[in-house]
């Protein structure tokens, strides 16, 4: 039913692709991160909640068709539906059913309910295509509340010492998760324009995200002491952050679990929080699906597939552009997205 091609995951009877990376006619998209939703396809099919951000990132002119979670529709005889992946707002797993055979393409996912993304729902299937960004047993996350309380504590002690706290966070995903969960009684949270743009769109969709835009004017005059600033990783260390006076920066990412990666990224203060499933998350997600056949992509694919085979699954690697980048065993600098 599905073939892995040089354009991406291809559904043969439905004649469409899932998260393709080359231009195709019909693209079913799991979520709006740039490594999944690329520009140039003739037609996009995705979850309704994801459309405004996709239009913002890919252009308002794109031809896009949206469905609700759980709603099924048919493409050339293939029954298709979206199911929450818990990764970011509007992220989905794609379920395909054709002549009694069921496949699920996970996209990116995490099992823990982060309080803002539609929480992950396991979907039974025969074949499961899973990501494996953190598919090693050294990646095991603490519950979100523990990490959030660590971040609150850090922010609070900085505030007491008259230091501005700056957090590097991806504009789609981590930024909302932090803004939603951090303790706003500690101080003000400001956001970089790249994040604020996303928040403007999400606010129209009904998400209650506190406004915290820093205008050029504000940047010159405002005293930021005691507050927390959310900025995309690229903005940190630039002239932009110099304006805050004395500040301490922290990186929030699953990669912060590893000392050598913290060092490499120059992150003294690293909080381990990810929008991807950890080792146990991947294993239990696979167990939940009840699938016998597992394809692994997007991360430590070779290694994780080998592990699954030893666990008596019929597991293989999806030969795509994404897989392979970690097979040398080198630490990937891949974004958390």
């Amino acid at each position: 039913m599905v073939r892995f091609t040089d354009k991406g995951i291809y559904c043969i009877p439905g004649d469409f692709y899932i998260d393709p990376w080359r231009r195709v006619d019909k693209a079913v998209i799991t979520h709006a991160h740039s490594d999944h939703a690329r520009s140039g396809h003739s037609q996009y099919i995705t979850v309704k909640e994801s459309i405004p951000i996709m239009k913002f990132r890919l252009g308002s002119f794109i031809k896009v068709c949206g469905y609700s979670y759980g709603e099924s529709f048919t493409i050339r005889g293939v029954k298709v539906s979206f199911h929450p992946a818990g990764h970011i707002i509007g992220s989905a797993q794609v379920r395909l059913e054709y002549k009694g055979e069921i496949w699920v393409v996970s996209g990116d996912y995490k099992l823990e309910n982060d309080g803002i993304s539609e929480p992950f729902e396991p979907v039974k299937c025969h074949t499961f295509i899973t990501e494996s960004t953190f598919g090693l047993p050294i990646f095991r996350w603490q519950p979100q509340q523990n990490v959030i309380s660590d971040i609150n504590q850090w922010w609070k002690s900085n505030a007491e010492n008259g230091i501005v706290s700056v957090i590097a966070a991806y504009s789609l995903g981590k930024a909302q998760r932090l803004l939603y969960n951090l303790d706003l009684s500690i101080g003000q949270i400001y956001t970089h324009a790249a994040i604020e743009n996303i928040h403007n769109i999400l606010r129209l969709q009904g998400y209650k995200l506190v406004e915290g835009h820093i205008s050029e004017n504000k940047l010159k005059t405002q005293n930021f002491t005691g507050s927390l600033v959310l900025a995309p990783p690229a903005a940190i260390g630039s002239a932009w952050t110099e304006k805050f006076g004395i500040f301490e920066e922290a990186t929030v990412s699953g990669w912060m679990a590893v000392k050598s990666i913290r060092k490499k990224r120059n992150a003294t203060r690293g909080f381990v929080l990810s929008d991807h499933a950890d080792w146990e998350g991947l294993n239990s997600a696979i167990q939940f699906t009840g699938a016998d056949k597992i394809y692994v992509t997007h991360g430590y694919s070779e290694i994780y597939a080998k592990f699954l085979r030893e666990e008596r699954y019929d597991a293989d690697v999806v030969k795509t552009e994404f897989s392979g980048d970690d097979e040398s065993g080198l630490i990937s600098e891949r974004m958390d997205e």
Partner: protein
């Protein structure tokens, strides 16, 4: 432990001196336990406990513990480049059910220094299943003797000055002296002029290591004495300038919980005695839990006083008339202690009696009889032993009673949270009461990996019913449990 591991995590992530000074000083301010602060400075200066287990073995245990293939461990290790860290990340528990201090863990490591593999393994498993990952990392570094962090002495000196407000020359002079964290207290190290605190300062407690059976053969009545090993609160009675203070091994001051000993404040001179606080009724001590419960109360009624009287069993005299006598032999200290006890002559303070023995067979006989005396085993002390906490564990041993055993029926087995779903590691046991099985105990430790694998396989092939993470077993397996 967590405060220390967090500091190290941050220190390892920065190369900025000012930040390092701030981090160390921040730690010294927020950590309230003096023993930990002294050890932390010692460790930063490069004083560390001797490694007692090779990293390779830890890797082996980790693989068994986590239940992953070796190639997956090795691949993960390539990512981190550090075994202690790899293991920390793989095994750390989510629930931090442990509030032992850094110095407690170091003590535990020193205690198993000469023990057999399985004893070391038990300690390692205990640490792995009760600490969060940064602390497991530190523990792994300490037990393998690999704890190394490059911090210059100047930075440490500056951090101490920043914390204590003392003169830089004085601090650096004191830090450069020959000292060991086991033998010195924070006040001795840094409160140079302050003699106020000295009045209630205990000495480092004697370290008592478990003896192995081969070593028992070396115990002769000519060179050794035997005492009962009492189950109670090890503490020091400190009387200086006619004022009494009672300190536990954890350096907790418990004087006001034990008004029975106020009488020592007049007429007996100054002294420091180490011994064990128990509750004694008739001719033997009662369950030590009762005394602990009494001490945790805010108010103590007369009735409680009478039903749980506190009695101090004196073992060793460490200071007399303000003179440190720890470097005299135990024999000499013992005779001074005997004289002092004769003068005190009070039923609340007893002298721990010497046990007569002719050879090691007599010793074994007494050990078996320890329960009748209300003791939990024997203490064996060399007559020439000095009271030194840092080294020579060969001079003082404990030889504990054999545990009791019971044959019980395994009724439930729970899937392991740590080792993964394929293994069963928590068990519920029951005893027959006529035709009924009455659950009596839960057990979740003490089995090795091989045993877990064997038992898990047996359970999988014999279980009658599973619900959630549990498997119900037929009443076919009975397991011998130690209590």
């Amino acid at each position: 432990m967590k405060t220390f591991s967090e500091m190290i995590r941050l220190l390892e992530g920065t190369s900025d001196s000012i930040q390092k000074i701030n981090l160390i000083s921040g730690y010294l301010t927020s950590e309230k336990n003096d023993k930990d602060r002294v050890w932390a400075i010692g460790l930063l200066l490069g004083i560390r406990p001797t490694g007692i287990i090779p990293v390779k073995k830890m890797r082996q245990w980790c693989i068994g513990h986590v239940g992953i293939p070796i190639w997956l461990y090795d691949f993960s290790h390539q990512i981190t480049g550090d075994h202690a860290e790899t293991i920390g990340l793989m095994v750390a528990s989510e629930v931090q059910n442990n509030n032992l201090y850094l110095h407690n863990w170091i003590e535990k490591i020193q205690q198993v220094q000469k023990a057999q593999d399985d004893q070391i393994r038990e300690l390692v498993m205990h640490a792995w299943s009760s600490l969060e990952n940064d602390s497991v990392y530190i523990f792994n570094k300490l037990i393998t003797g690999q704890f190394r962090i490059k911090i210059s002495k100047n930075i440490i000196v500056e951090a101490v000055c920043k914390t204590t407000g003392q003169d830089i020359n004085a601090v650096s002079y004191h830090l450069m002296k020959d000292w060991h964290p086991d033998q010195i207290y924070w006040q001795q190290l840094f409160n140079f002029e302050n003699s106020e605190s000295r009045i209630s300062n205990p000495y480092p407690f004697s370290k008592i290591y478990a003896i192995h059976s081969e070593e028992v053969e070396t115990i002769t009545p000519e060179q050794w004495v035997a005492l009962w090993l009492w189950d109670g609160i090890r503490c020091q009675l400190i009387v200086r300038k006619g004022e009494i203070h009672i300190r536990t091994m954890g350096e907790e001051l418990i004087t006001n919980k034990l008004p029975e000993f106020g009488f020592l404040q007049g007429g007996y001179g100054d002294f420091v005695i180490e011994g064990v606080m128990v509750s004694w009724i008739g001719d033997k001590p009662i369950d030590s839990e009762k005394l602990l419960a009494r001490m945790s109360r805010k108010y103590i009624t007369k009735k409680v006083f009478q039903s749980i009287p506190a009695v101090f069993i004196a073992e060793d005299l460490l200071e007399e008339e303000m003179a440190d006598i720890r470097f005299e032999s135990y024999e000499e200290r013992r005779s001074r202690l005997k004289n002092l006890m004769a003068r005190i002559n009070n039923p609340n303070v007893l002298l721990s009696p010497l046990i007569e023995f002719n050879d090691r067979f007599a010793l074994a006989y007494h050990r078996n009889k320890a329960r009748e005396t209300g003791a939990i085993g024997l203490i064996l002390k060399k007559k020439t032993a000095k009271q030194r906490a840092d080294i020579v564990p060969e001079e003082i041993w404990e030889w504990k009673n054999e545990p009791y055993t019971i044959d019980a029926v395994l009724i439930y087995a729970h899937r392991s949270l740590i080792r993964g779903n394929h293994f069963f590691s928590d068990f519920t046991f029951a005893l027959w009461d006529g035709d009924n099985l009455i659950p009596v105990a839960k057990a979740f430790s003490g089995l090795g990996d091989d045993e877990i694998i064997e038992i898990s396989a047996w359970i999988k092939s014999h279980k009658i019913e599973s619900f959630g993470p549990c498997g119900e077993c037929p009443s076919g397996l009975s397991i011998r449990t130690f209590i």
